[in-house]
């Protein structure tokens, strides 16, 4: 028996080792949501990001000039919008006071910089130099001056990993700002698509898409993109709405984390209602 095992090992050891490692990989694939695994991941990327942030700062310098030009232009446009919105804000305040509505508070923004990127066509993630010490928590939305970038997936003390919109695991509840129709937007590896939109629903090219207040992960309206194309196949019940995002996800460097976390009271209420 021992001789048999010994012969088998000497003839097939490469295959045995391969099988063992493949089984281990499959076990790890099933443990992705395990809390201990998440902790180990947070320690690992936190430690590595400390070093990569130093190098990324060197390369960020080259892009600062270009980004400054873009920001100046955006500032000028925003300045004109702000002066118009001031007038609307004053009128809004007066009307709210009249009807006694509760005032919505402004959202806290935590600034951060990208220290590394994991470019994959389907699992695009970025690492930021802001973490638990900066009050960043998993589930917080990430934005820049153009619009929505992604959602914080996990955080260590000083760094966070963000799943960007170009990640097949991130599905966002969005709505058409004009027609107020809600839908689920996802990345299919090539383009952003709002799926399962009935043909009778009103979507037009150029419509602005924002995050929906119905979303369990982003309950505030954040700009996402513009409707670029609508696939209306005659033999199908639904149409496919293709969206072009406002943000160029490949070139983001400086961004903000919106410091909101969903109210547990609201979530518990909804969970109890649907039981």
């Amino acid at each position: 028996m021992i001789k048999f095992l010994s012969n088998a090992w000497s003839n097939f050891k490469e295959y045995v080792i391969l099988c063992l490692l493949v089984i281990l990989s499959l076990i790890l694939l099933s443990q992705n949501q395990n809390q201990k695994v998440q902790k180990v991941r947070a320690i690992a990327f936190g430690s590595f990001s400390t070093v990569s942030s130093v190098f990324s700062n060197l390369f960020n310098t080259a892009r600062i000039t270009e980004e400054n030009e873009e920001l100046r232009k955006a500032n000028a446009e925003l300045m004109m919008q702000i002066s118009k919105l001031r007038e609307y804000g004053i009128t809004n305040e007066q009307l709210r006071g009249l009807v006694g509505l509760k005032d919505s508070s402004s959202l806290p923004l935590i600034p951060a910089t990208v220290v590394s990127k994991s470019l994959s066509l389907t699992q695009h993630t970025i690492t930021l130099n802001a973490g638990l010490k900066d009050s960043v928590k998993p589930g917080m939305p990430v934005i820049n001056y153009s619009g929505m970038i992604g959602i914080v997936h996990s955080s260590s003390d000083d760094f966070s990993i963000v799943r960007t919109l170009k990640n097949v695991d991130l599905k966002l509840t969005v709505k058409n700002e004009r027609s107020r129709i809600h839908g689920i937007m996802k990345w299919d590896g090539e383009e952003f698509i709002i799926v399962n939109i009935p043909k009778t629903f009103d979507f037009e090219i150029g419509d602005r898409i924002i995050t929906s207040e119905l979303s369990s992960i982003v309950p505030v309206p954040l700009p996402v993109g513009l409707v670029q194309e609508i696939d209306d196949v005659e033999t199908e019940v639904f149409k496919r709405v293709k969206v072009k995002p406002f943000v160029d996800l490949l070139s983001v460097e400086n961004l903000f984390i919106v410091g909101i976390v969903n109210s547990t009271q609201k979530q518990n209420l909804e969970l109890n209602f649907y039981r």
Partner: protein, 162 residues
């Protein structure tokens, strides 16, 4: 096992640093070459199939932990890639595959399997055409990795030989 077997483990972190900071700068439509895979293939041919398989799994799991991707996906794909590269490792074939353009063929083969397995776990969507997945997520990154492998391995070797 001598101290030379530890070199691939030591160079993992500098390679990963390059992969996440500099390599995105040379991406083409989000397609990037994979430096870690080139290192796995090179080490596998140099030190043998078992070494390559284990090194692939170590590289894969560390990459999954640090980059934030699905834990186990890269480990599985790089383990298989290291195993395949090991077929081209033997006393007689080593010199031929390491120091000629045949190395790029091995890299292409391993990159194809690596990206195919990795994208299989990433793109679990039956609405997407399977051939489209293989072309976009597997073939194009493999070609880019192969081109880079010839630049970083073969050309410097041939220049120093001349």
């Amino acid at each position: 096992m001598n101290w030379r077997h530890l070199i691939p483990l030591i160079i993992f972190f500098p390679l990963l640093l390059l992969q996440v900071t500099i390599i995105p700068l040379i991406s083409i439509e989000s397609i990037v070459p994979d430096l870690l895979l080139i290192a796995v293939v090179y080490s596998s041919i140099l030190y043998g199939q078992i070494y390559g398989t284990v090194l692939g799994s170590v590289y894969g799991i560390l990459f999954d932990l640090i980059a934030g991707s699905l834990l186990g996906s890269s480990m599985l794909s790089k383990t298989v890639a290291g195993f395949i590269a090991g077929y081209y490792s033997s006393e007689t074939k080593r010199e031929k595959y390491l120091n000629s353009y045949s190395f790029t063929f091995v890299v292409f083969l391993c990159a194809l399997s690596d990206t195919a397995i990795y994208s299989f776990f990433s793109s679990w969507d039956f609405n997407i055409n399977l051939f489209r997945i293989l072309f976009n997520y597997s073939l194009l990154p493999s070609i880019y990795t192969t081109v880079l492998s010839s630049i970083v391995i073969i050309i410097p070797y041939k220049k120093s030989f001349n």
